[in-house]
Amino acid sequence: MLALSSGFLRSCELFPERPAVEVSGTTLTYKALWKRAASLAATLQRRTPLGGPPLTAVFAYRSPTAFAGVLAALFRGHGYVPLNRTFPPERTRTMLERSGCRALITDSQSVENLGQILEGIHEELLLILPETSDTEGLANRWPNHRIVGSNELDPPEAWSLQPVSPDSIAYLLFTSGTTGIPKGVMVAHRNVRHFVDVMVHRYEITEQDRFSQTFDMTFDLSAFDMFVAWERGACVCCPSQRTLINPGRFIQDSRLTVWFSVPSVAAFMERLGTLKPNCYPTLRWTLFCGEPLPFAVVENWGRAAPRSKLENLYGPTELTIACTFYRWNGEKSAGECEFGLVPIGEPYPGMKAMVVDEGLDEVLPCEEGELLMTGPQLSLGYWRDPETTAAAFVVPAAKNDVYYKTGDRVRKPVGNGPLVYLGRRDQQVKVQGHRVELSEVEAYLRQETKTDVAIALGWPITPNGAGGIVAFLDDTSLDAEGLRNKLKAKLPAYAVPRQIHLLPQLPLNPNGKVDRKALLNILERMP
């Protein structure tokens, strides 16, 4: 069993002069990135305050230091904890505090946000600022922390490889918890190694490949971009936040061969007119993950990148990035879509799936239930939270393995058919005692309007569920009343949206998914 950084280190030997990362107008070869990372790792080794868990925070955003920082934490034998300056500072501070990290690496652009993050953190931290030479002012500002600027870094040669156990944490990634306090998911080296091994073989990655990085490091899908590319000497192309707004030209200029994003990015590009026939001929793989994939997105993308094979990936952070895949097949896939959504396919090799009812007993083929999964990508659970871990990581009756309860509802396939995603378990609401499946209402809305995205919410929220359903669509030209009448023919009265709000565009969360909470806030502010 090898450490997660082993792929990068092997590529450093095989391809020292090939590009490992292109970011902020800079190209770093494997050799150059190794030097930066090894220097940071040596500094961490020598100067991190004693005590504290084997974790190092990386508070950097789409910069050379972000990539060097992630590698440095791993070189040091630590797991990395990605933090993001575009998140609310209070949330980031909670993550830093909860992680217990004693060292933090930051880039020059994030330094100005550091003050808000460090507020109220009294334990001594090692703050490494490899892009900042003048640290005197900062040292005066934070006398209880140890600050190391670019001039005081240890040389890369001073770093020595740290052995890590396959069970130790490779990254600690915070996801939103139901109580509002972020939960830290502990993902082990062996989890990510399995994922990376499956991916490099499946996609036949070589040193000629060029990967997109649409995901921020605080979203675990970014780990695909980095570690799958570096495993084989390929290049990660990281656009700026501004370029990502309209990434068509970036795909062309960077000559990307592997595209990986949430489907919403593709829907956005379609709106801007940047999915023209054959405009992305260099792409050989297109992967979508992170939210349900509408059939319409596949069709539009397929025209723009006709040489690219396309897969829909699915997976919660707790099962390490992605754990099922579905290969799009022009001849038969349309027939396998349900409610206009592409299936999530089959488990990765080595992973096992179960579809269960509320008593955790397996349902029959063709029936719906919650998806439970286990296998080499089953993460270690939640950081310092045994209760939440025990609730989500369970041993079903008649099984010996721990399975993760995904909270996602799927249809159990017949024979070798694909798993079909039907929605979140918690997207079921009770309206006047009736169980309403929000994803079902959404499917009808999409069907009737031919739009890609529709959101249904239970509203107003009542002690036993919701008073009714309201819907949001991103098209102001629709006839809301006419649409309501059409839905009356499809859905029981209690499930028909009482109001349909038409917005020019639906709000997205930092990960690019439709932000349901923001829509609830809109409802709350309405008279």
């Binding site: 501004r242 707004i245 007119g273 639906l506 709000p507 997205l508």
Partner: protein, 95 residues
């Protein structure tokens, strides 16, 4: 054929964003040609699509953004001139 001037587009953008500009302490006259609505924190990606829809509805044109330099999508001057340039050949707005 429709004629839309860059100045008209600029005015429409800035008046529609008046509240957001005020929130960051700016007025319409403060806005230079190279003002970036995104990096200055005036709008996000959601705001950009709202803006595009507003412009298309207002001038009754369907704009194709494939030829716009991507970074200029959120910069007032170049964005307004792109609309001016594209308007004469644009199809009517068809949501």
């Amino acid at each position: 054929m429709r004629h839309v001037s860059a100045q008209e587009v600029r005015l429409l953008i800035l008046s529609s964003l008046e509240a957001q500009l005020t929130a960051v302490g700016l007025t319409q006259t403060d806005i230079p040609d190279d003002f970036d609505l995104l990096t200055e924190g005036v709008i996000d990606s959601l705001g950009i699509l709202q803006l595009i829809t507003l412009i298309e509805e207002h001038f009754d044109i369907k704009v194709d953004f494939a030829d716009l330099t991507p970074e200029n999508l959120t910069i007032v001057g170049p964005f307004s001139r792109y609309i001016e340039e594209r308007a004469p050949s644009a199809l009517p707005y068809d949501p």
